[in-house]
């Protein structure tokens, strides 16, 4: 395999979302963001809800992900998450509506376990919004 690239596989229980050679990956971990370049030390990481940035063919691609794990072994990167969506496929209006509904629900009194569930869903919605926003920004900067 080409030493200067990473082989990424991003999968959810439903399907493999992305598979291919990339040059740079950013993933959200518990302490912040983790950037990965080829030649990274072998790693096992617990990923949090957030946005994964992937650069291949000199283009940035974004994925909104749920909780999961990442494994790096000799430039092979495997990411397994409970849910993932490509920024291009995200329905912005739907997510915005969902976010408002969740905020509305969270402002009410609820049992703690329910609140946790709602909060996770809200975080996922926010991650999706962030992914779309990042995508738009990179597109905007290219046009200029």
């Amino acid at each position: 395999m080409n030493k200067k690239s990473l082989h990424l596989e991003l999968s959810t229980p439903d399907k493999v979302i992305f598979k291919g050679d990339v040059s740079y990956i950013v993933v959200p971990v518990e302490d912040g963001l983790l950037g990965i370049l080829p030649g990274h030390i072998n790693t096992l990481a617990h990923l949090t809800i957030g946005v994964v940035k992937v650069i291949y063919n000199n283009e940035s691609h974004y994925f909104a992900i749920g909780e999961g794990f990442m494994e790096i072994v000799d430039n092979n990167v495997y990411i397994t998450v409970d849910s993932a969506e490509k920024a291009e496929d995200i329905d912005l209006l739907k997510v915005k509506k969902e976010k408002e509904e969740l905020e509305q629900l969270l402002s009410q009194r609820k049992a703690i376990s329910q609140r946790i569930q709602l909060y996770t869903s809200l975080q996922k919605a926010l991650a999706k919004l962030r992914a779309v926003k990042s995508l738009e920004e990179t597109k905007g900067s290219k046009e200029q």
Binding site: S11, D31, T43, L44, A45, G68, E71, T80, D82
Partner: protein, 295 residues
């Protein structure tokens, strides 16, 4: 003797029933395929997680391996998850599961049981037998998705860690192929002590730390196992439904044949009678004419 009209109406309604049953059968075949497809797509994910666990365990210091999820505690309370369908029309599917549950209760009468019924039939059963229900789930089987299952499993894990239950069994159908399904009783918690692969000392980076990864990783593996079980159970349910519908269709066809035979008979007798009336009418007319001429 039923009238012609009555019979016609009956044949029509049987026809409609046949159509409905046929389409239900086709629908369950499609659903089986969808569930199997899902299970197939889950496989790489599960394998990946298993490999991650192997990596983690082969590099983890021994003392971290006694995670609460792996721990064999003294058993005071047993949790039982039983998976049935939400809807009827699936032959002996629910009855077989519930019989297995009853047998399980009899075999383990010394243990204190707590139940997690999945599906309306399991819930009804648990209520009618006055079993202790901790939590129940319905309408999960139609289109199982991972997020729902995750919530379910998180609840189970919480109960396990809170010591509400000390072990967990799952009673459900395993889908072997479209003609064969088997009841399986699995012990899900505590997780089986993982086989420890060869110890490796090469450097490996764990984020945030190896002790903090193992918990979520084990939980995630449990979730995928449960998802697999639910997909299997759903596929089995549909397989039972398919067979039930096939039988129903055959029966309906038989009844339809009988009815059509009867219908033809009635129609024929009617025609014969009418013909008879006409000919006898003609006969009488002729007789009258003959007597006229003769006079």
């Amino acid at each position: 003797m039923p009238t012609l009209q009555e019979l016609r109406r009956k044949v029509n309604s049987i026809n409609n029933i046949c159509h409905i049953i046929r389409s239900m059968e086709t629908l369950s075949i499609v659903k089986i395929r969808a569930f199997q497809d899902k299970a197939l797509r889950l496989k790489p994910y599960t394998q990946e997680l298993q490999r991650m666990l192997d990596i983690l365990i082969s590099r983890l210091p021994q003392e971290y391996l006694n995670h609460p999820l792996l721990e064999d505690r003294d058993i005071y309370n047993t949790g039982v998850v039983m998976i049935t369908s939400d809807w009827g029309f699936c032959g002996s599917y629910n009855i077989q599961i519930l019989n297995a549950v009853e047998k399980f209760i009899k075999d383990n009468y010394k243990k204190r049981m707590n139940f997690y019924p999945i599906g309306t039939y399991a819930l009804k059963f648990a209520r009618s037998k006055n079993l202790k229900i901790i939590n129940s789930f319905t309408h999960l089987m139609d289109s199982p998705n991972f997020i729902q299952i995750r919530r379910l499993v998180r609840g189970l894990v919480r109960d396990f860690l809170d010591k509400k239950i000390d072990e967990l069994y799952v009673i459900s159908f395993d889908f072997i192929n479209i003609l064969k399904q088997e009841i399986n009783i699995r012990r899900l918690l505590p997780l089986k002590p993982v086989n420890i692969p060869e110890r490796k000392e090469e450097t490996f980076l764990f984020l945030p730390s190896s002790q903090r990864i193992i918990g979520p990783l084990l939980e995630n593996i449990l979730e995928t196992t449960m998802f697999q079980i639910i997909l299997d159970a759903s596929a089995s349910e549909q397989a039972f439904r398919r067979i039930a519908m096939r039988r129903a269709y055959e029966n309906a066809e038989k009844i339809k044949e009988k009815l059509i035979f009867q219908l033809n008979q009635v129609r024929q007798t009617k025609i014969t009678r009418e013909l008879h009336e006409i000919t006898s009418g003609i006969e009488t007319l002729r007789e009258k004419e003959v007597t006229k001429v003769g006079r």
